[in-house]
Symmetry: C2
Subunit: 211 residues, 2 copies
DNA sequence: GTCTATAAGAGGATAGAC
DNA sequence: GTCTATCCTCTTATAGAC
């Protein structure tokens, strides 16, 4: 049993290395431009060996997305333990985390339109399950934040959820980073502000309010 | 000269039909999934004939983007004639127009990462010229809106400009439309609100302000 | 300038030896 | 399970007749 367990550990380490490479390439070039040859070369194994671990290119991407959702769920559950934070604070923290991940080049992005990939993901139970868990938790916070008046109660929670998800693959941070004149933290602050406070900015008062 | 002019007109009409098809396919599936065969089939001519009009797939996409920018510039210049509107109103009108275009399936979207395509665009004088004209005009309005306090003066104008551009290819409207329970106008209003007023929503007052 | 036919190559996936 | 070598399909692009 020790030998079997060891073998399994080796397997896991190798598959983790594969998912690492896929994650990097998805973040860098996206699904359509990522080639299986690149993944194999990046990991340092033959392409045929890759296919012993994952059945298809879509399965590779799905594995990367599942790991992303696992990490997201871990972060979300960690936030839930902070008693002092409001629901709004938590939503903002999660969004900040996603933006930081993206700027670090570790956010795998999928095309919103590739049908073969969507089919694979919609058939992936682990993926759907995790996505639902994350969405449920965020959904709770959204309702709480709306009740507290921190998030616009006129918006359907769905709209808020999608908007937060969309910030994770927003092109703005990458463009600003490509410009080269701002640091990551500064970029994150600005994008976070435009997301929650809008282009109008935080705390506006009616004309003539005096401060 | 009349015969030549007539021939040129026929040419223009045909090329317009090609760009129409490209525009539709780019909006529908994106650059990577669009094939030249599809474009040819959609227009109803042979693929080889396409290549008599445009030198490459990238050139096709570039033509669609140039036409988009021409239309954008036309809309922007039309807004400039509305004397009653503030700079902020105009920015909001342009963003609304882009969102409506997207929901109508007429917004060609490019991958933010395809290098061959970016190279072609960056070498396309007409494209760069139009992009600069649009950006200059929007940039003016952004500065004015910031001076008027309608847009957060703490944000670099660059950030505001990129954010507005990014709304034109935001995945949120398409997701909401796919859900099927909301009309286009409703979706546009919500996304526009999250863009300018943020998830917090319009007009927040300090606690205890009374209304 | 339009067509049919085909070149040329990339990229996903597999065969079969070890 | 890893490798080398290969298959096969899809897609961009072009040749050459009309």
């Amino acid at each position: 049993m020790a030998r079997l367990s060891f073998r399994e550990q080796v397997l896991r380490v190798r598959e983790d290395a594969i998912v690492d490479a896929v994650n990097r390439l998805l973040a860098d070039k996206g699904f359509d431009l990522m080639t299986v040859d690149e993944v194999a070369a990046d990991v340092g194994i033959a392409k045929a060996s890759l296919y012993k671990h994952f059945a298809s290119k879509e399965a590779l991407a799905a594995a990367a997305m599942v790991r992303l959702l696992q990490r997201t769920l871990a972060f979300v559950e960690q936030q839930a333990t902070h008693a002092g934070a409001s629901a709004y604070d938590r939503l903002r923290a999660v969004t900040r985390w996603a933006l930081q991940l993206q700027l670090a080049g570790e956010m795998p992005t999928l095309p919103s339109q590739n049908s073969s990939l969507r089919a694979e993901l919609m058939a992936n139970k682990a993926y759907l399950d995790l996505l639902m868990q994350v969405s449920d938790k965020l959904g709770e916070w959204i309702l709480q934040a709306q009740a507290a008046g921190d998030i616009d109660p006129a918006l359907p929670p769905e709209v808020v959820l999608y908007t937060i998800y969309a910030r994770g693959c927003d092109p703005v941070p990458a463009f600003l980073k490509a410009g080269g004149q701002y640091g990551d933290d500064q970029i994150v602050d600005w994008v976070l502000s435009t997301c929650f406070d809008g282009l109008r900015g935080p705390v506006r008062r009616p004309a003539g309010a005096g401060n």
